[in-house]
Symmetry: C2
Subunit: 112 residues, 2 copies
């Protein structure tokens, strides 16, 4: 549970940046070399590489080196953790709505 | 678009903390006073208030003062922005899958 929470911390930090979200979006269309990918973002290569490393450290992308080319690949499964967290919140809300409905429709459920 | 991106930055930063995610989860069960809510988290009230202010600044919760009691209320609509962003990524992946399928099933689509 603590590990899941720490993973969510890292994921949300990684997603809190427009360049990193842009990389995720771009890689959704398919794998791409770091060089080609960097060309789509207006910043220096060292700055861009920091974003790539943050995404990689949090498991959102992986990179594979072949010769002199490093290719970035999106790890969609990792984004599913965010989906799961949102689904968990919805379950809490729905339980509340169900409780409120049962109070309104069945007065015996209401202890007051 | 720049505003949407800035909102996402703020939302993801706000979600990148276990206490703030805990507050969102707790408020999913219904509104709660700051005092009662703070009692559920092992930290000083000033530290807790910083988290409340971050959530409020990013629109994830709102607070209403009545007399001496400040009540926190979850703003579910705000979390929907995160849902929307995830849905947008899925659309990009699905378009890619559709393209790959059409290449495999209809050779005329393949220009090479």
């Amino acid at each position: 549970m603590a590990q899941y929470s720490a993973q969510l911390d890292g994921l949300f930090v990684a997603l809190a940046d427009p360049t990193r979200r842009g990389v995720i979006r771009r890689l959704g269309r398919g794998p791409m070399s770091v060089g080609d990918l960097a060309g789509e973002f207006p910043m220096t290569l060292p700055s861009f590489m920091k974003h790539v490393r943050t995404l990689e450290a949090n498991g959102l992308i992986r990179t594979v080196k072949s010769g002199r080319v490093r290719t970035c690949i999106l790890n969609r499964e990792r984004l599913a953790l965010v989906d799961d967290w949102l689904a968990e919140q919805r379950r809490v809300w729905e339980e509340r709505t169900d409780r409120l409905e049962s109070l309104l429709t069945d007065p015996k459920e209401n202890p007051s």
